[in-house]
Symmetry: C2
Subunit: 161 residues, 2 copies
């Protein structure tokens, strides 16, 4: 078969790689009863506790209204907590709980091991190149992570219906 357009089309190549390896890891997660969405939210909050909901949505690459719903589920499971901001009472910052941290910490180790197995397909220089090129491509996106200015007044914890 002659080479197809698709196989040399960057957006397809990126989608294929992302899909293949993410699904591979998601299978491992599902085997432990963790949904991909839960993992994405928790790992981001672990990295950056107190993120505002809209920032979190940008980071996890999900729609805002979806993140609202996912976060509310995680609140119900006591894995995260919502706090309204003092400065701007429309904003909600999300914190991972200790239970959430306990859940996600071993998964990070698993993610690192899985990542290593993916990178093992490449020469050391290609490994470096790939990550650095992807960082270049991401440069504009990852700018403005908005995090709650440390405000730990317990009275701001938000009650959920």
């Amino acid at each position: 078969m002659p080479e197809k357009f698709i196989d040399n089309y960057l957006l397809f190549q990126l989608a294929l790689a992302s899909h293949t390896f993410s699904e591979e890891f998601y299978q491992q997660l599902r085997a432990k009863g963790v949904s991909p969405a839960k993992w994405r939210i928790l790992i981001n909050l672990f990295d950056c506790p107190g993120m505002y909901l809209t920032s979190l949505a940008k980071y996890v690459l999900y729609e805002q209204s979806r993140v609202t719903k996912l976060v509310d589920q995680l609140v119900a499971e006591k894995l995260v907590e919502k706090q309204t901001s003092h400065q701007d009472r429309r904003r909600v910052s999300i914190h991972i709980t200790e239970a959430g941290t306990k859940l996600v910490a071993p998964l990070i180790e698993q993610a690192k091991a899985h990542e290593a197995s993916v990178l093992a397909k490449l020469s050391p220089s290609d490994q470096k190149n790939l990550k650095s090129i992807l960082k270049t491509l991401a440069s504009r996106h990852i700018k403005d992570t908005q995090v709650a200015e440390l405000e730990f007044d317990e009275s701001t914890k938000k009650k959920q219906g």
Copy 2:
């Protein structure tokens, strides 16, 4: 802010790049009234007419049952046709129609222009490296595209309810 795990995690980097640039292009498509799913199916059938349904599903990275439904919609729009295979009457090969080709051809040009704009963010050597690395990573996936052995007996065209 210290560097986060996420920002150096290959699966996230891939997802971010894929998401960012795909969404960028999908906006262009939507402006022309074409859904991402329709584009994906049509471009693959354009590249490789007569693909069997299950192969097509693997290529477009969608679930089999979803592809069944999407293809049925495209059949209703006369953009593709289904044919049952002689050799194996369970199998369905999908062909793009002339109308489908007319729809997709200009979009390919648009995709090429968009791809060029993405690659422009990189040095020429990084452009080459990125594509070649992604090809290495894809190597195992894109093996067995199954295509109908040229069988153009009109009697095999499948009626749809």
